[in-house]
Amino acid sequence: MVCWICIPYCPLGAIKKIHTDTSTTATIDQDECVECGVCLRSGVCKTEAIYWPELEWPRAVRQAFSAVLIGYGALSKAGVKGYDRPDGSGGRGTNEMKTNDVTGRIKDGEIGIAAELGRPCQGFYFRDLEKVTLAMSQLGAEFETENPLTALLDKKTGRIKHREIMNERALSAIVEMKIGEERVIEVLDGLKKVAKEIDTVFTVNIINKCKDGSIPIKTTLEKAGIIVRINGKTNIGLGRPLVE
């Protein structure tokens, strides 16, 4: 039975109709598929035509960075060291500012910057991601150790250590770094420059600790003509230190 009901469920349009002289069927384009599992989890296929085989490395890196509930077990299975949350509880990135009222990760005068590769909804190849990590490294990035992506990188250079994944594709990854606030325009300019060299998109975040009910870095950004959206996340400061 061919119904094509699953076709729109793929976020990247990787399920395609295949026409022959005698029939039309559906198939998953294995290069475009990022192993996110949305088609399978949607439950729309009533004929069990969609299934998830056990994935071997390096293809398994697609699933690690695309299937939200699967986690990063594939990294440790492949011998990638340096990330100890294989259940995926850390998501694509880290807790960044969400617990900053407790951890003090971003302090006064510091800026957190993140580039979300492949978002919104375009996906990315690791070869493009490396262009961004190399550029960010040259801009003085300290890659966040709790971020799963960092385990794949040479932290000094931003080069991907596991060259076998360069032509693999995934739904999204977040490159996170911390800088002094005086460098924010320079780093944003660097990101704009590398953005011209990649075959996808990334969306930028800026994290800033508030002062007296306002956002200190906002004036600098606005003076430089940088667009800041009206919405975003606010940690409202109710977190308390870890005490008994």
Partner: protein, 214 residues
């Protein structure tokens, strides 16, 4: 993890869209306080609430008949982790923040929404704001992105699990009168396993889009 940070839309639309995240290592340590946090989220007219119990998402979406009831999410026996709620009204968010401030649970609370609204709530409740995560530009091959209305729906699942093909599919279904915009919103929201997607807002956007094309 920034998957509620880049929700697109105009001021009027974003004024009706909030995500509240409850975070911190204390959640694992104090399950009873975590249960109280879930009760607070449930009390203020949520569009959606989710917690993970032993790693499994336990989720409620308003009017999702096939899903779990809000009471079942609240009463689930396993200790809650990764606690989130989605809301459409500022006054509900203010009520939640007031309740969290009064309860002194010690968890980090993050509001994703229009900064002006969140800062106004903070001032009224007498807390923060402590730290912000601002959504900036999308760079690179932005010509690949769809038009604004599709993006507004798409960016409500920051993990990109609700893609352009499915949004267009359901817009077509609504246009042809095969399903309602509300049902389309729920079916799209079902794909967002973190339950950050706001199906009520999605339905409004889909209706606007269909009307624009008429």
């Amino acid at each position: 993890m920034t998957h509620s940070n880049h929700r697109r839309g105009d001021r009027e639309s974003l004024d009706q869209d909030y995500v509240i995240l409850v975070r911190g290592e204390l959640i694992k340590k104090y399950p009873e306080k975590a249960r109280k946090a879930v009760r607070i989220l449930a009390k203020h007219n949520p569009v959606g609430v989710i917690t993970r119990r032993k790693g499994i998402p336990i989720r409620y979406m308003r009017k999702w008949d096939e899903g779990m009831s809000l009471q079942k999410v609240v009463d689930h026996p396993d200790p809650p982790q990764y606690i989130h709620g989605v809301y459409e009204r500022k006054k509900d968010v203010q009520g939640i923040i007031q309740d969290f401030a009064d309860a002194e649970l010690g968890f980090s609370i993050v509001v994703s929404g229009v900064f002006e609204n969140t800062f106004c709530i903070c001032e009224k409740v007498g807390t923060g704001p402590h730290t912000v995560n601002m959504s900036m530009e999308t760079l690179g091959r932005t010509e690949l992105l769809p038009e604004d209305k599709i993006l507004e729906v798409m960016t409500m699942c920051g993990h990109s699990l609700v893609g352009e093909p499915l949004i267009r599919h359901f817009i077509n279904q609504v246009r042809k009168g095969r399903i309602t915009a509300e049902k389309a919103g729920l079916e799209l929201g079902r794909q967002c396993v973190c339950n950050f997607f706001n199906p009520i807002r999605a339905a409004k956007i889909i209706k606007e889009y269909v009307n624009l094309q008429r």
